[in-house]
């Protein structure tokens, strides 16, 4: 009945000390974040300009 599921059968994970290197990830999300800020601020200034 019970169906073994990949996630459940995985061995107990040891807390690794060396986290994987995610420099590229950090850079990518920050690029994304700056794009969000840029868009938001542009439209906010459009609003102010039209006041």
């Amino acid at each position: 009945m019970a169906i073994p599921q990949l996630q459940n059968t995985k061995p107990k994970v040891k807390m690794t000390k060396e986290s994987p290197s995610l420099k590229g990830t950090l850079a990518s999300v920050f690029l994304l974040g700056f794009f969000l800020m840029f868009t938001w601020i542009s439209i906010y200034f459009l609003f102010l300009d039209r006041l």
């Binding site: 990830t25 999300v29 906010y44």
Partner: protein, 158 residues
Amino acid sequence: MHIHKYEKIWLFFGIGSLFVFLTIIGVSAFAQGNQPPSCLTTIDPEKVDETPPFNKPGLVKTGDNEYQLNIVASAFAYTPNQIEIPKGAKVTINVTTKDVIHGFEMAGTNVNMMVEPGYVNSFTKTFNKTGQYTIVCNEYCGAGHHMMTAKVKVVNKQ
């Protein structure tokens, strides 16, 4: 729960920015008065023609350089639909509808309101530049929705 160090940095920055945005719009709304249109005044949609100020729609001078512009929306027209505003006037625009929901958008400006039966909506704007604006209905109201329009001219006062 274990979260990667970089993810903490990212979430701190991301959530921080969200709160900065919220603060900016909050201060702008509550301290500087840039609230979205929320007039909260009710009206009987079937008696708009008898209810002041909408029984005599149009531009009314209410003070030194202050005006009220009362407009009635109905399928598929605004009354009045040709409006002249003196340059520099601070105009409070009041709109209501006799039938379905309409929009009231002065294209290219911040004047943008939903006009719903039973309510008056209101927005104040100072017109500092001469020129022409097009008012369009931006909420679907039926077959003639895209024909529903009005013109505003901001003119130098004599």
